[in-house]
C-alpha cells in the first residue's frame, strides 16, 4: 500500500485529500496513469510527484508505505 495526497485544485477535483492504493513496486509514471484512470477529468499537466516529501523522477519505483503527493504548479509568495 502507498498513500496518495491530493492538493489544491486536485483535491477539489478528486473530492478527497488522500487515499491508499496498491501501487508498491510500480513507478511514479504508473502512479500517474492509475490516477488518470481513476479520475479522467483531473488535469495532470505540469503536475509533479513528491515521494516521501522529495520531488521524484518518473521512473522512480514506489515502496510499500511510501507517501506520494501530487503537486500541481505551486503559487506561494
Amino acid at each position: 500500500m502507498i498513500t496518495i495526497f491530493y492538493f489544491a485544485g486536485l483535491r477539489e477535483a478528486a473530492g478527497k485529500p488522500q487515499e491508499q492504493a496498491e501501487l508498491a513496486g510500480r513507478t511514479v509514471n504508473e502512479l500517474l496513469e492509475w490516477v488518470r484512470n481513476q479520475y479522467p477529468n483531473l488535469s495532470l499537466d505540469a503536475v509533479r510527484v513528491a515521494v516521501n516529501e522529495e520531488y521524484a523522477l518518473p521512473e522512480d519505483v514506489l515502496q510499500a508505505g511510501d507517501t506520494a503527493a501530487l503537486i500541481p504548479p505551486v503559487s506561494g509568495g
Partner: protein
Amino acid sequence: MKAYEIVTEPINPQLYADYVLRPEAGAVTLFTGHVREWTRGIRTLYLAYEAYIPMAEKMLAKIGTEIEEKWPGTKTAIAHRIGELKIGEIAVVIAVSSPHRRDAYEANEHAIERIKELVPIWKKEIWENGTEWIGDQRRKPEEGETP
C-alpha cells in the same frame, strides 16, 4: 518560532529579523509579501493558501542551505502563512543577514524566486464573482481569462 516554517497565525516579521541578526552582520534585509487587492483590474476579496506542510518546511530549509552555500556568511529565516488571509496581510516573510548589504539583498530575492518554483504552497484567489487556484500561468486573470 522555527527558522523555516509554515504558520497559521499572523506573521510578526520582527521575530525573523531578530533571529538572523548577529554581531558579524552589518545588514539585514526583510522582505514581506502581502495580499494584493487589485491584479490587472481584477479585485481580490481575500486569499486562501494551502501547503503540504512537512515538505514545504523541508523545501524552505533547502532554500536556506542553498543561500548559505551561494552567499557564505549569510543567515536566513523564512515563514509562509496558510489559511485565509485578508488584503494587506503578510503571506510570506524572508529575513537574511550578511556582513555587507549586497549579499543580503541578492540572497533575499533568490529566496522568493525559489519559493515560487519549489515550495508546495498553493494560493486560491477569491473574487466577487468566482474563485481560482493559481499556479497554472495560463489561467491567471492577468493573462486575459475572465474569472
